[in-house]
């Protein structure tokens, strides 16, 4: 078995009942070479300091719980290997969110934003499931599949330069999911999403910095979704508004 190596971790702590502001705390962790950052955080929690709080669950990169800033970059800590980082490794809560405690951030604003874009299939009339599925070709599926891969891990929100200054911005994940439903051949709700997507918090606030797509661990490319939605939104506006004496 390969040797353990002791790695220094600097972890940002914030306990609202005792701390005025966040402080760095240092832990030396004996790491196996195949460990991910989350393994080290769990080691600290179990063996060194049970007062450290963090979220985690699946440890296979799909539940989206364990996003943190690792040396300043948003990462799923279950997928960030300690061997890929120089010593010391700095771990902090995701940027652009209020800290609840330690590495746990407040996600309520995202849930509200998600609800606002109506991320569900909207039909004028529901079909009885006994009558079978909606036909959808592999090509229809490929129009939106990539944008359905979002695990809501919030790395894109932590990376987004717009959210830093405009916390009301709906953000990459919510907008990509809105686009995902708009692109789904089964959906008829595009018009119902138009208002929120074109609102001041919607797609037009995106400055296309592309940071979201660079940090996305699932290849969703929310920046592309937003740009495509801008084009669709413009065409829709032209179709709906222009004939009635708009432009």
């Amino acid at each position: 078995m390969e040797e353990k190596r002791t790695i220094r971790f600097e972890v940002l702590r914030f306990r609202p009942e005792q701390d005025e502001e966040p402080v760095w705390q240092t832990y030396d962790v004996p790491c196996r070479p195949d460990w991910v950052v989350l393994d080290a955080i769990n080691y600290i929690k179990d063996e060194i300091d049970p007062t450290l709080s963090h979220r985690w669950s699946c440890r296979m990169g799909v539940c989206g719980s364990c996003g943190m800033m690792v040396n300043g970059t948003p990462k799923l800590t279950c997928s960030a290997f300690v061997r890929d980082y120089p010593d010391p490794i700095r771990v902090a809560p995701l940027s652009n969110f209020p800290i609840v405690r330690d590495l746990v951030v407040d996600l309520e604003s995202f849930i509200e934003k998600l609800e606002r874009v109506k991320p569900w299939i909207i039909r004028r009339a529901e079909k009885d499931p006994a009558l079978g599925e909606y036909l959808q070709s592999p090509e229809d599926l490929s129009n939106f599949k990539q944008y359905s891969m979002c695990i809501n891990c919030m790395l894109c929100y932590a990376a987004c330069p717009v959210l830093l200054h405009e916390p009301e911005f709906l953000g990459p994940a919510a907008l990509a999911l809105a686009f995902r439903y708009n692109q789904d051949s089964r959906d008829e709700g595009e018009r119902q999403r138009l208002g929120v997507l074109n609102s001041p918090e919607g797609i037009w606030s995106c400055s296309y910095a592309n940071e979201c797509s660079e940090v996305c661990p699932k290849g969703v490319d929310p920046a592309a979704a937003i740009q495509k939605q801008k084009l669709l939104g413009f065409l829709q506006w032209a179709r709906v508004v222009a004939p009635r004496g708009g432009a």
């Binding site: 036909l135 070709s137 229809d140």
Partner: protein, 567 residues
């Protein structure tokens, strides 16, 4: 103490819980349903399911055939009336999920695609590439957002059921954000908290799978059923236990030992890689015992070879497998075989329910992995569990809504006192002094479970495990905790979860000790044969203050008489 009242209280926001929530919401828009989850619902472990969900979809298939495969797979311990309900309703439920946006993989003509799976005699497993659970969970979660009468209480950890006058009255839960206990009262409660794989050291299960709902029901006097039946998945990554889906074999992958042999020839010659999980897990362990496994840092393993499938098929059908293998073991399955070994995956047992999810306790329902209806008996077939979450989540939701409409809130004078008692129990844990550490008790529990309740079991080891768990429960009362704070105190959650796991582990060990036969996933080296005369019955374990009590109940057989199970 804050008291909230809803009509139905739902514990758990995974596949079964969200399906139940929507069923309540649709059954009666006047009812409100509180959905309590210890995480955000989209973090639930349904998210990790990969391969697919079973339901009859093609001309060459029939509900009878799906039912027969399921009953045979269960080694005749499934309740056949429940299986018949299940196979009839599964296609409707999966179609409903299609209408709710689930991106099922498709045929060229636009119909749902289906794939082969272990123990299924025809192709009937619906799939969304190899992220089926992820897509199902997010489709359900996003759909649930449109119902105004679903009230989510996220990151709220339920610690006790409130029971009075012979029926359930609600729950007490710890709000992680504030650290305060709240009473959430309701006329019906649905438990959908999933499995308990974390009672073992090596598991595919997420950290949150700590048997909470099972322990809550058990402590409220509801029996746990068939807890000895623990499914080992044949193909997990060594070290992490990350699941490599059975779909990789459904798509044509083969298992090879260190001599390069397709060793399943010796065990399931007619089904080979598509044999049922119990038999494939045993086969791997027997290969290890015969020194035909590869030797690795994390113990012996075998190879799962997908190289002959080609890059295009792997990328279309198994992209997540490729991603996981490259990322976590540094192996690209397009070029090299993946190292795999059996890993704890699923609890066939759970809270004893009928086909509507109803338990012995009026008003209390359960669905999904935490329940045992039982369609899975002694061994679940791969891809039946996602469908089970939908079928029985919906049934439990509808039944809970009907119950909530029929009863009133009266006659619960003792409920506030019960709630305050529970608040006191939680508060007493905060910074509690004591000589034992959570991590030590957890480690000793998981290692005892692996020793006495693993793939192969025998009398002395099972008894020793049962005794060890009982001792750990004693030591648990001397637990010491360091975190005195309220906001997001995860140390308290870990302590409460450990308490749940110890109860569940004890039930598993007792049931494993007392079933003196081999059936499905339960293999006793000292009783290698199935014994229908004495053991064609469900095991029940009931809570008692002095220790768990064993009971049993008959298996319902409708159309398929037990026969020898050969593949």
């Amino acid at each position: 103490m804050e008291v909230i009242r809803h009509d139905v209280v739902l514990v758990g926001g995974g596949g079964a819980g969200l399906r139940a929530a929507i069923a309540v919401a649709e059954a009666d828009p006047e009812l409100t349903v509180a959905c309590l989850s210890k995480v955000y619902p989209m973090r639930s472990h349904t998210v990790s399911a990969e391969g697919g969900a079973a339901a009859v979809a093609r001309e060459d298939d029939s509900p009878e055939l799906h039912a027969y495969d399921t009953v045979r797979g269960s080694d005749y311990l499934a309740d056949q009336d429940a299986v018949e309900l299940f196979v009839e309703e599964a296609p409707i439920e999966l179609t409903r999920l299609e209408h709710w946006g689930c991106p099922w993989s498709r045929e060229e003509d636009g119909r749902i695609a289906v794939r082969a799976f272990g123990g299924m005699s025809v192709e009937r497993t619906w799939f969304a590439a190899d992220k089926t659970g992820f897509h199902m969970l997010h489709s359900l979660f996003q759909t649930s957002l449109k119902y105004e009468n679903i009230v989510r209480l996220d990151e709220t950890f339920v610690t006790r059921l409130l029971v009075e006058d012979g029926r359930v009255r609600g729950v007490v839960a710890l709000d992680l954000r504030t650290g305060s206990a709240r009473a959430v009262l309701g006329r019906a409660v649905v438990l959908a908290t999933g499995g308990a794989g974390r009672i073992f050291p090596f598991t595919t299960n997420a950290a949150i799978k700590t048997g909470d709902g099972m322990a809550l029901a058990y402590r409220a006097g509801v029996p746990l059923k068939d807890m000895e039946f623990v499914q080992y998945h044949p193909t997990g990554l060594p070290g992490t236990g990350i699941l490599i889906t059975e779909a990789s074999r459904g798509e044509g992958g083969v298992l090879l030992n260190a001599n390069g042999e397709r060793y399943l020839e010796r065990y399931v010659p007619n089904k080979m890689e598509l044999g049922p999980r119990d038999m494939l897990a045993r086969a791997a362990i027997l290969e290890f015992q015969a020194e035909r496994g590869f030797k690795g840092t994390y113990g012996p393993y075998v190879h799962l070879d997908l190289t002959h499938l080609g890059e295009a098929k792997i990328d279309e059908r198994l992209p997540f497998v490729r991603e996981l293998a490259i990322h976590y073991v540094g192996i690209d399955p397009v070029k090299e075989p993946i190292p795999v070994r059996p890993v704890v995956h699923y609890m066939m047992g759970g809270i004893d329910t009928d086909g509507n999810g109803a338990t012995e306790l009026p008003g209390l329902y359960a669905a999904g992995e935490c329940a045992s209806v039982s369609i899975n008996g002694a061994n679940r077939l791969g891809s039946n569990s996602l469908s089970e979450c939908l079928v029985f989540g919906a049934r439990a939701g509808r039944a809970a809504a009907a119950f909530a409409r029929e009863v009133d809130d009266r006659n619960e004078p003792a409920v506030p006192e019960q709630a305050r008692d529970e608040e006191g129990r939680i508060e007493a844990l905060r910074g509690k002094s004591g000589g034992e550490r959570i991590v030590d008790l957890r480690r000793e529990m998981t290692s005892a479970m692996e020793r006495g309740c693993g793939v192969f079991r025998e009398e002395d080891e099972a008894r020793h495990t049962l005794q060890t768990v009982a001792q750990l429960k004693g030591r648990y009362t001397d637990l010491g905790l360091e975190d005195r704070s309220r906001v997001f105190n995860t140390e308290i959650v870990s302590a409460l979860e450990l308490g749940h796991m110890l109860d569940v582990a004890e039930a598993v060990a007792l049931a494993a000790l007392e079933r003196k036969e081999s059936r499905g996933s339960h293999t006793r080296t000292d009783f290698p044969a199935r014994d229908d005369e004495n053991f064609l019955k469900h095991t029940l374990v009931r809570f008692a203050p002095q220790g768990p009590k064993l009971d049993d109940k008959p298996v319902t057989i409708t159309r398929w008489q037990p026969e020898e199970r050969k593949y």
